[in-house]
Each structure stands twice: as structure tokens, then as C-alpha cells.
């Protein structure tokens, strides 16, 4: 919520709490802005770590790089409590049903960061075991290059995702899952 938002909508200080007032004609915009701001600063990651990228992801969580500066530090190991999946590692063909199932179980709207060369393109595993990029299975929002990427790469991916969420209206939220898969 920037300065232009505060200029558009009046802020009145009450006795006990602050109150935001808006007009009827800009109400959808107003709600959008609040929801987008809240959503982008409270992403809940689900680490789908299958290889060495997951070790690097741990580093981006911990204190030196400190992912919580971007509001995405509450790592959940249940897909029901998460809305950002970080696929960190090689996905082989036997893993595909698990990946798809867990993606379907996540809260909507949900986002996927494909971390590293293996998850994004199969990496150097161009053989019978490995899926040549997880975007053949699930939609991906941000790709991170590297083998493995540095923690700064993960942080930049989160910032890129936040930029995407800033412009995503709740009226156009992507809901995809068929009910029987939820």
C-alpha cells in the first residue's frame, strides 16, 4: 500500500483504532489493494525438496539470508497450510503422481517456484528417469536458474512472485482444481 493508495482513500484515526474509508465506486480497487498487499507479504511456502536444491533452500530460510524479511518464512509441511510450492530438486517419473497430488491439495490461489535446473528443465538428466521440467505436470510461476541456485536466487524469485501478485485482481483469481481432486 503506497502513498497513492493513502491519497485515494481517507484514513481517520478513531479513539481505539484506525478506520479506512472509501467510496462505493472505488471499492473493488480498494479491496483488491488490501488483499494483494496481504497476500504478497504472507506467502506460505511448501518445500517440495527432492535433491540438493533443498539444502540450498534451507540456507535461504535460515538467519543469514532470512526469507522472513519477505514474509515467506512460515514453511509448512502440509500442503493444506501452504500456497507457494517450491519444487527444489530432480523430479523423476515415479514422483510425478505425488507432485501432482500435493499440488492439487494446496490452498488456492497457489503458486509454484521451480528452483534450479533439474526442476525447470531436467538439468543434465536427459535420460529415462527424469521429467524434462515440472511445467509438463503443473503450472509454474517463477523459474530460478542455477545448479543449485544461490539463496539470493530464491529470494529474488519470491520478490518476482510478489510483483506478480501485486497486479492480480481477486476477481480474476485462477481457480483450477476439479472438486474431486481437492
Amino acid at each position: 500500500m503506497g502513498r497513492d493508495f493513502l491519497e485515494k482513500h481517507r484514513v481517520e484515526k478513531g479513539l481505539e483504532e484506525s478506520v479506512l474509508l472509501t467510496r462505493m465506486d472505488v471499492a473493488p480497487d480498494f479491496i483488491d489493494t488490501i488483499v494483494q498487499w496481504g497476500r504478497k507479504n504472507s506467502l506460505w511456502p511448501y518445500p517440495f525438496g527432492t535433491a540438493c536444491c533443498a539444502i540450498e533452500f534451507m540456507s535461504s530460510i535460515s538467519s543469514i539470508h532470512d526469507q522472513s524479511r519477505f514474509g515467506a518464512e512460515a514453511v509448512r509441511f502440509s500442503p493444506r497450510q501452504a500456497d507457494m510450492m517450491i519444487v527444489a530438486g530432480t523430479i523423476n517419473h515415479k514422483m510425478v503422481p505425488i507432485l501432482k497430488r500435493i499440488y492439487d491439495q494446496m490452498c488456492e490461489p497457489r503458486y509454484v517456484i521451480s528452483m534450479g535446473a533439474c526442476a525447470s528443465s531436467g538439468g543434465f538428466y536427459d535420460n529415462y528417469t527424469t521429467v524434462q521440467g515440472i511445467d509438463m505436470v503443473i503450472p509454474v510461476d517463477v523459474y530460478v536458474a542455477g545448479c543449485p541456485p544461490r539463496p539470493e536466487g530464491v529470494l529474488e524469485a519470491i520478490v518476482k512472485l510478489q510483483e506478480k501478485l501485486e497486479n492480480q485482481s481477486i476477481a480474476k483469481m485462477p481457480f483450477q482444481t476439479e472438486p474431486e481432486n481437492r
Binding site: 517419473h93 515415479k94 510425478v96 503422481p97 536427459d126 535420460n127 529415462y128 528417469t129 527424469t130
Partner: protein, 193 residues
């Protein structure tokens, strides 16, 4: 025991089954005939001079020609396309031995060693999965690493290196669950599964 003494105690028992022998990388390597494999392996375990109590690994090698068509391929022998390598270790005498069996291209079949060494179970399943070598007498010879509907054998030289197979239904594993329940004496009616 010295490596040459090791060879002597074997040779006296199964001279007809041993095709050749050499010492490579500090271990004795014997190429044996498939018919003699089980007897030799049993003797390796039970002979008090040898006492190879561990089967460390089973590896399969594909000796198919690797150079393009038209190039001279005299070294390629269709009757010895596959080579199965058994590595044994003796914790009592602290020595090792390597057995190799050569198998033909059209029908690579070997007798199982699961009756003698328990660790042969998964090793033989892996050799079956990756190279298509069948082990007669194995109680549960099915794929161990690739998908259960995988076609072909992935580590053979004639399997295309970048060929993928999209198989995304999970294996039910009902047979393995039932076998484990049965081993623990738990009776389950099939409707409950």
C-alpha cells in the same frame, strides 16, 4: 590367505566350471559357467578355507558394441553380450573374490542365488530391471527401480538414452502388503483393502 592359494582351493573343486581366471585390482576374478554358479557360490560360503559370508554386490554389464555401424567390431561377441559380476567378501578371512558369468544376447538366464545369500534378492531384481537378465527360482522377480509398467530395459546399450516413458499411475503394491501381513500372521479379507 594369498590370492593364488584362494584360486587353488577353488580350482580343485570346480575345475570344469571355471573358464578363466585373472587378478585385477588386487582381487581374484573368475569367469564361471552359468551351470556351475550356484555350486561355486555355495562352496564359497561353506568352505572353511574361504568362508565368503557376504555377497556385496551384483552388477550387470552390457558389452554391446558402442561404436557406429560399419566400424570393425571383431571384439563384440554375441554369446557374451551380458556379463553379471558377483562380488563376495569374507569377514572371517578378510579377502574378496569376483565371479563373472557371461550370458548370450538372445536369452540371458541365470539361476538365482537367493537360496544361499539373502542379499541377492534385490541385487538380482536390479539386474533384471536394468538389463533384463532373468533369474530362475527367484521368488519375487519384478522391477525394483523403474515403474512397474516400464517397457524395455533402461541400462541396455540399445535403449535410447533420452527415451522417456510417461507412467503416472502408482503401483498398488497389494501383493507385497499381503505377503508382509501373511508373514506376521495377520489375516485380512480382501474386501478390507
Amino acid at each position: 590367505m594369498m590370492i593364488d592359494r584362494l584360486a587353488e582351493s577353488l580350482n580343485s573343486d570346480f575345475a570344469g566350471g571355471i573358464v578363466s581366471r585373472e587378478v585385477s585390482f588386487g582381487d581374484l576374478t573368475l569367469i564361471v559357467k552359468p551351470d556351475y554358479l550356484v555350486d561355486i557360490a555355495r562352496d564359497l560360503r561353506d568352505n572353511p578355507d574361504l568362508r565368503f559370508d557376504l555377497l556385496l554386490d551384483i552388477a550387470a554389464v552390457d558389452n554391446m558394441k558402442r561404436w557406429p555401424e560399419g566400424v570393425d567390431d571383431d571384439e563384440y561377441d554375441e554369446d557374451a553380450r551380458f556379463e553379471v559380476v558377483y562380488i563376495f567378501n569374507s569377514t572371517a578371512h578378510n579377502h574378496r573374490i569376483r565371479l563373472k558369468v557371461q550370458l548370450p544376447e538372445d536369452d540371458p538366464v541365470l539361476p538365482t542365488l537367493t537360496g544361499i545369500y539373502g542379499s541377492a534378492d534385490w541385487g538380482e531384481r536390479e539386474a533384471f530391471d536394468m538389463m533384463g537378465i532373468r533369474f530362475t527360482g527367484h521368488s519375487n522377480l519384478k522391477r525394483i527401480l523403474t515403474h512397474y509398467k516400464f517397457k524395455g530395459y533402461a541400462l541396455r546399450k540399445d535403449y535410447p538414452v533420452d527415451k522417456e516413458q510417461w507412467l503416472d499411475e502408482p503401483e498398488p503394491l497389494v501383493d507385497e502388503i499381503l505377503a508382509r501381513l501373511d508373514a506376521r500372521g495377520i489375516e485380512v479379507r480382501f474386501e478390507e483393502l
